[in-house]
Subunit: 383 residues, 2 copies
């Protein structure tokens, strides 16, 4: 069985994170990704730490398995190569500021006329429309402006950044969805589409709960530390040896929790319903911790697990990378160096699919322009 995107060629002009994250997923699903980089410097992230054997592990994490060719899209010879690639590609991805592709003669209208089957995927800070379309952005700018930082952090303290680069990554994921939907459509219509994803839009799109609360109550929610804003108990608790999470999302789970902790609260009016528990969450936390402080978190996680109550430890990234369930799912993979030896570890592909395979190694990330010969030969073969 072939991979689901076998035979699909992605011409990838994106750099840094949002676009390359999208093409990484497409590559893991079997697409042939040709990374087109600017000469000499290439993708900015080739210079981002951490480094291993003189190469950026950050770059390699996102770009493993892709092919690289360096092209100067203002130089005639390289433009000719690029146009031969366009004629063979199924998808072009770019993350320039709006207008840059048009000035090079490769805007959507031109490309769609010349290559009607080509799908055009763009990701940018603010999108291709609207008053601020041409402003630059980075992850934290859209985390800040889009609202996610305002609900992340502790009450009465300054907002904090989400530790993961969700400003970039979520936008790259929406781009991936749009491109895949356009591929489904093209199988039936023969026509490509343009997909335009903005990092700022994508931040609002993941705030389903906060937007609903703001719209209905008129009051935007603030940060709540480690508590869920509208479910209780659903937060961190201290055990004898550290923090763990209990997530009792409904009345049945709360009753089971009371039994497991030997806490006679299930018939107490202050805790009888979820709204009441949210109202009295600070008191509830203290009553629960008065019990949980006495034993280790492993004790409680095992006990609550046996009772069917969701709970788990707070793990740092090293602990997560050793987690038996994560390892059993092949979610930590070896990225190879150019000599085929394991260089460092990266997260695996979270999309498990029948017939896809789930290897625990990843091909090396390409050197800048390292696949020029192979790509030119591939073009020759295609005629």
């Amino acid at each position: 069985m072939t991979k689901p995107l076998a035979g699909i060629t992605i011409l990838d002009l994106t750099h840094v994170l949002a676009g390359p994250y999208c093409s990484m997923t497409l590559c893991d699903l079997g697409a042939h990704v040709i990374k087109v980089e600017r000469p000499v410097i290439g993708d900015d992230t080739r210079a981002f730490p951490p480094f291993t054997k003189g190469k950026s592990a950050y770059f390699a994490t996102i770009n493993h398995g892709k092919k690289s060719i360096a092209l100067d899209l203002k130089a005639e010879g390289d433009r000719a190569i690029f146009e031969r690639l366009l004629a063979r590609a199924d998808v072009i991805l770019e993350n320039y500021r709006p207008g840059v592709m048009e000035r090079m003669g490769y805007g959507w209208d031109d490309l769609h006329t010349q290559y009607p089957r080509l799908i055009y995927g763009a990701v940018s800070g603010f999108g291709h429309t609207g008053p601020e379309a041409k402003r630059p952005a980075y992850d934290m700018v859209v985390q800040a402006r889009g609202g996610v930082m305002s609900i992340t952090g502790e009450k009465d303290r300054e907002p904090v950044r989400v530790g993961a680069s969700v400003g970039d990554i979520v936008a790259g994921m929406f781009l991936c969805q749009g491109v895949l939907a356009a591929l489904v459509d093209r199988e039936r219509t023969g026509q490509g589409r343009k997909v335009d994803v903005a990092m700022l839009d994508s931040q609002l799109a993941i705030l389903e709960h906060a937007v609903a609360i703001t719209s209905v109550t008129g009051t935007p929610p603030g940060p709540t530390g480690a508590r869920h804003p509208s479910i209780a108990p659903f937060e961190t608790f201290h055990a004898a040896d550290g923090l763990f999470v209990i997530a009792a999302g409904n009345d049945v789970l709360f009753e089971k929790l009371c039994v497991a902790l030997n806490l006679p609260l299930a018939d107490d009016a202050r805790f009888a319903t979820n709204p009441a528990r949210v109202e009295n969450a600070r008191l509830l936390k203290r009553l629960i911790e008065a019990v949980t402080l006495d034993k280790t978190r492993a004790h409680w996680i095992a006990k609550l697990g046996a009772a069917g109550i969701p709970s788990g430890p707070i793990q740092n990234v090293a602990q997560a990378m050793r987690d038996p369930q994560i390892l059993a799912r092949n979610m930590v993979v070896d990225v190879l160096d150019r000599n085929g030896r394991p260089a460092f570890k990266a997260a695996g592909n979270p999309i498990k699919m029948s017939g896809l395979g789930d290897p625990t190694v990843r091909a090396a990330a390409p050197d800048l322009d390292g696949d020029r010969g192979e790509i030119l030969r591939w073009l020759e073969e295609k005629g």
Copy 2:
């Protein structure tokens, strides 16, 4: 031009957030989503606040535009309806604990034998394999265990939850990608595939940077408040009237920033390179704030914007929902009630696509079993 997923039917057994978020996206892209709910109670989120006119706005945010039928999959008559739906569906989505579908006779192996074109998408806390496959999970359990909480929050304080439900939503997005890739594949092979996404896996998958740092240095990163861990200046700064973000991601932007702030630091060895600036980030923050405290954040954002330096305000969700760029992108939409009147506002579709349309209203969320008649008539028509 039709929507890209026009004619694709999704049989959606999922509830709460991860699965319904996936089918919401598929619905926005044109798929026909039939939500199969358990009788009487339906999706748990029908009881989640906030409420408007007695209905959950939370439920409606995620389920607008879908159709609902209530089926008891253990009752003979309802099973017969369900099986007629299976014969017509392109995709089935479920988020039961692993093994539940098998016990009902609707496991992947059985379904694939009987309906070889059907795509099977599953999202669960820990996935369908591994020692803990059958444990329940909620958003915060996987945020905690997967590592994202350990890098979110302030240094030397307890970790905090990401305010957005990324434990659910990111998993729903990976599921959506897998299902779409399987649809692309099926156009060529005629065969469905099973997609198995775990919420825990999905959390590790968005930690590209933290995993690379942990693997290369042996030391997991901790929370850094509102600072990017390896780029400076890339954090929040105080202006006269509030907090804003400056994201100067490379040397060229840093030089422009020094000019814009009239700060003679570009030739200072302590700030000459990004690694040096990261090393001296606390000092750099104070030197920059000594300037920025003097004027409003609007002043600085306009000035830095004119100089091409990414910056922006920290906005709460109400401010984000009034942001002119967000409004220009149709990212705040009206969800209608069953009488066709605007009931409340939700986030729009971040996947802008040629030929898709970008309406600023959304059809109402379905009442429980509210489309039974229409769905049965649709089955009749299909024969």
